[in-house]
Symmetry: C2
Subunit: 639 residues, 2 copies
């Protein structure tokens, strides 16, 4: 069956200029603060030092650094991801200092690389004889993937090919050991990621071997009897190398419990899952593979109908950093790793471009403004790894983490966020996100200057200017978000009546210089209820306005834990733009009831607590935990 | 300051015959099923095998048994605790088979004991050179304590002294290495327990050295600069022995963060804490130590006002198996280890006998009927280690555990539960618990036959017969539980008006053969509310009747997760004796509201769920998880 794929392709972030206040602030913070501070942390916590080979003898398996951190098998990936984020930053503003820091890292990697091309600093520094003996647990391919993405980004920004060359030699080596051919090991990655990087490299170089290797990895994954992870485990056991370090060795954990095209339920480690689905969607398009696309759609529905937090957080459990069972969405203990929401954005973008269906853009937007953005503090140098939906006040953003994956995932996302706004097709231009951008792209053979101005996500009033070089007919597709309860569109002041089909209004006409489109989607606060299967949210309500999910935080609701507040079902929700709050956030407020703790002395008593009138003020979730420590709730009890 | 201590002492369980249905059933189950099955499990899981020294070379540090369990440093204690429970069982009914099994274990211990008296099978089997190098983590004193309690119980039941002699030699050795004298190590146990055992041994033998060593351990604990656990850690580091096996090495974890008399907040591992407080209360009485008693009272208030589950479960966190911060009492993730509630019973009993204040007996009773008893299944061979107050249906009793401490704690408790009912003083007799017992004790110089008949905890109608050998004046103290909202008392049919003072009604008169006391405490279902500081329970209510806390379980409330049910505040609670349910349990039922899940397709939507009328049926908490798997809630949302 030949797939009917959308002809739309994303406009790259380097071709989209962010002009709206919302994303300009985040981008500035990431460029000025986050990227440099992340390099500093990579130094302080011994991560850069771990690349300097040979490591001093004796090669300790888990040497402790002065700060108490131990060398981790995945640190190469964090360096790779920082280079990727920093390279995206350089696309915005060149910076000799940052470039020198990247070059110094490349020097270390170049020195560390073995003559045969192998390059993994953890193995080379600690157990060189054991390389490629434990793909299940030890992240060699995962690291290579992130290093490769860093190398691609750095090359694309600076034209410098040294780092990319190092990675190409490493890939040549990997392909000399692994692959479908007889005589090679039929292994694949325990932590999926490299597939995405390989497809990027294929797009960059056009070399089919990279696409083929990504295809091999996806096709080989989950084959049974014997399972590759069992083969390599048995080899380790023979050599006395097997350790019990990782308890998570069940196949579901790494989505290798069955061939990917047969998978129908989302299981295991959330970030592994999302990276894999992203690659599957990429390959569905590249290979025109209907089975792969169908698997992606089935898995997508499974997440959306039973497993996603209202913030687009994924993975309720810290135990496996991942998925458990349907409707298991605890709030206070939600893991909802920042990386998983970032990776959901990647997957959603791929799905969106298979079908150009707004349901994917809705999730992309939800994850962007909530589950992913909540991972980065306002000051740009504090992070959440887990993103709970309730806190007793103990949750606090951290300055660094023994596993810093989320830090660079959110910086690379923000530094390239412009890449999610627009797509073009031979005969059309699609707007997915709004918030103030400009771009210049060829559409239907003519160069079009594009400008979208809005105060999104605070307002749904959008204004678009199109300046084609010559008057040209093409589709303009405007996404009408799922949250919109009614939209009005005008072209050059003339109302256009058009329903959204699959989430997009399409305007086909001959566009001329100076054409203006206006779209108004009134943003009203709304109440969301969870499926009663989500037992944690029974009797509770979440607040949302536009794409932003709200929470109540103690800083805005002083007087004790916010868990004491109840929101009557008929209370009117009022929106207020607060110039004093995070540069103009819109808060929601309502009359509420508060439990009165003042007359309590015992832990338990037979008379119910008194209630008093109160005002409840809600803040966008992504802004929480940026002031003093305090309690927070997304799902508010309804009175 | 001389302490004014209560003159009451518990009547030992061997002198109290259980005659009421409730405890007869539990005792029979433990004698017939639990004790023999626990021995079987000790065999199946390699625990008995681990006592057989020498272990086959090479001595693996963590050998895996066929069943996947690894040898644990605390297994000696589990064997000791089983001998204790089995010996209590033998007090009820001698059993040659069980006695032979104990003798076989004693053979192994005897063979394992070193010439100098040292006896720890884990160290001897695996790292003999490292003995006493890590009291912080490796349980040597803890094991010795439980082995000693087993030896005392076995001696008291059978008169056989061999096992006790082995333990006395081991204690001599311990005291030759550790103690306050210069030249000895000033160490103490990382897991408190041995103090309780030493005081028991002092009571048995009258040898003051055992009391002195217990006193030393309590007095030495928590001294700083240097802290003993640092001294031994530094020695391990010098020898290259320090491992990172235990992350829980902060002083609070083992309540060694400051001298015990200065401690005012309950912290750390819950079972360690409760065992220590038990010993502190014991020593307060033995040493007439006002500071120790005051510390116990301060710590008691801290638990009661901020840290105890409504079920008398203790320790909200699995992370440290213990305490966190005030009012942190999550329901679904409650750890509330069975052992901690059992140990709370020990502590409460000591506190009760310092002051004879019913507030301690209330907690003893609450822990007994709820947090502790919930740890043992109806069939007597399945267990809960953690006792959550809410379940999504995944919680299930297990047949065995890699750390089987709770299994034998609950069996030794039930096998000796008669010991919590009565106390005597030179001039009085006190009834703490009710439920049908008989005993024969000397009070005020005369032998009194005592019989208490009731259907407690299902009914508050109590009938007591006293047959003194000769007419004698003495106090009879009847505990009026804190849950009672009004009691009526009669002596030989004549009403007696008497208020309870500190939880006890005192009747002083000349008692004559055939005297009868009746006490009626009507048991009404009641609603309990939690202090609003317990944010998890805001808007929720717990149900209680007499000493029993109730829960709603899916087995009694079919149609989906019980979390869908809400109890209107004005709904009448009806008690029903259910002959069909666990031999006559009393259930509570009420009209309720149920969320209707039938019209849901999405995960989230903007319209609230529909509600329908329903009936809610609640079951005593200790009986949950004895039928099919399903959801359970203690704290029910109130509509």
């Amino acid at each position: 069956m030949e797939l009917q794929l959308s002809q739309y392709h994303p406009v790259r972030f380097v071709d989209v200029r962010l002009e709206g206040d919302f994303w300009k602030e985040r981008l500035d913070t990431v460029l000025k603060t986050t990227i440099p501070s992340q390099h500093k942390k990579l130094g302080e916590y011994g991560i850069l030092e771990s690349l300097k080979l040979p490591q001093p003898p004796p090669p300790l398996r888990f040497p402790r650094h002065a700060n108490g951190f131990t060398v981790q098998v995945f640190w190469d990936s964090d360096v790779g991801k920082w280079i990727e984020a920093a390279s995206y930053a350089l696309s915005h503003r060149r910076d000799a200092d940052i470039e020198a820091k990247i070059e110094a890292i490349v020097d270390d990697f170049e020195k560390a690389q073995e003559p045969d091309g192998y390059l993994n600093c953890w193995y080379l520094g600690h157990e060189p004889e054991k390389r490629f003996s434990n793909l299940r647990d030890n992240h060699e391919f995962y690291n290579a993937g992130h290093m490769l993405e860093g190398a691609i980004a750095y090359f694309e920004t600076t034209g410098r090919r040294r780092w990319l060359g190092i990675m190409e030699r490493y890939l040549d080596h990997i392909r000399s050991v692994f692959g479908p051919e007889s005589g090679k090991k039929h292994g694949y990655d325990g932590h999926q990621e490299i597939e995405i990087a390989l497809i990027k490299l294929y797009h960059l170089t056009g070399e089919k071997k990279h696409l083929d290797f990504a295809t091999y990895l996806i096709n080989e994954r989950g084959k049974q009897s014997p399972h590759y992870f069992d083969i390599e485990r048995e080899e380790r056991e023979k050599k006395g190398w097997e350790t019990q370090r990782y308890a998570q060795s069940n196949y579901e954990y790494s989505q290798s419990h069955m061939p990917v095209r047969q998978q129908t339920k989302v299981v295991g480690h959330a970030v592994r899952a999302m990276y894999m689905y992203t690659a599957m969607a990429d390959l569905a398009a590249e290979l025109n593979d209907a089975a792969l696309k169908a698997a992606c759609e089935t898995l997508w529905n499974d997440v959306m109908i039973t497993k996603m937090y209202v913030t687009a957080g994924l993975g309720p459990s810290a135990h496996n950093e991942g998925f458990t069972f349907d409707y298991d969405l605890p709030n206070q203990t939600a893991y909802a790793e920042t990386c998983a929401s970032v990776a959901l954005i990647f997957w959603a973008q791929r799905m969106l471009h298979l079908d150009l269906d707004g349901k994917y853009a809705d999730v992309l937007e939800l994850a962007l403004y909530n589950g992913a953005l909540s991972g980065l503090s306002r000051d740009g140098e504090h992070y959440f790894y887990a993103n709970p939906l309730e806190s007793n006040g103990s949750a606090e953003r951290w300055a660094w983490h023994t596993c810093p994956c989320c830090t660079m995932n959110v910086s690379r996302l923000v530094a390239s966020v412009g890449g999610y706004f627009l797509s073009t097709a031979p005969d059309g231009l699609a707007f997915h996100l709004y918030g103030g951008i400009s771009a210049k792209r060829e559409v239907a053979g003519t160069l079009v200057e594009i400008r979208e101005a809005s105060n999104y996500p605070w307002s749904g009033e959008i204004k678009i200017n199109l300046d084609p070089a010559t008057p040209t007919r093409f589709d303009v597709k405007l996404r009408v978000p799922g949250w919109s309860k009614g939209h009005s569109i005008g072209v050059n002041g003339q109302a256009v009546t058009a329903d959204a089909i699959n989430g997009y209004v399409t305007i086909n006409r001959i566009w001329t210089k100076g054409d203006t489109i206006t779209m108004d989607m009134p943003m009203q606060p709304e109440r969301l209820y969870a499926n009663p299967g989500v037992i944690m949210d029974v009797g509770r309500v979440a607040l949302k306005r536009g794409p932003l999910v709200y929470c109540i935080e103690e800083a805005d609701n002083p007087g004790g834990a916010v868990q004491r507040l109840k929101l009557p079902r008929d209370a009117v929700l009022k929106s207020t733009t607060r110039a004093d709050l995070f540069g103009g956030a819109v808060t929601l407020s309502a009359s509420a009831k508060a439990i009165d703790p003042s007359d309590w002395h015992d832990l338990y008593r037979t008379s119910p607590p008194a209630e008093s009138d109160a005002t409840l003020t809600a803040l966008p979730y992504y802004l929480w935990a940026n002031r003093s420590r305090g309690s927070m709730v997304v799902w508010i009890p309804e009175a």
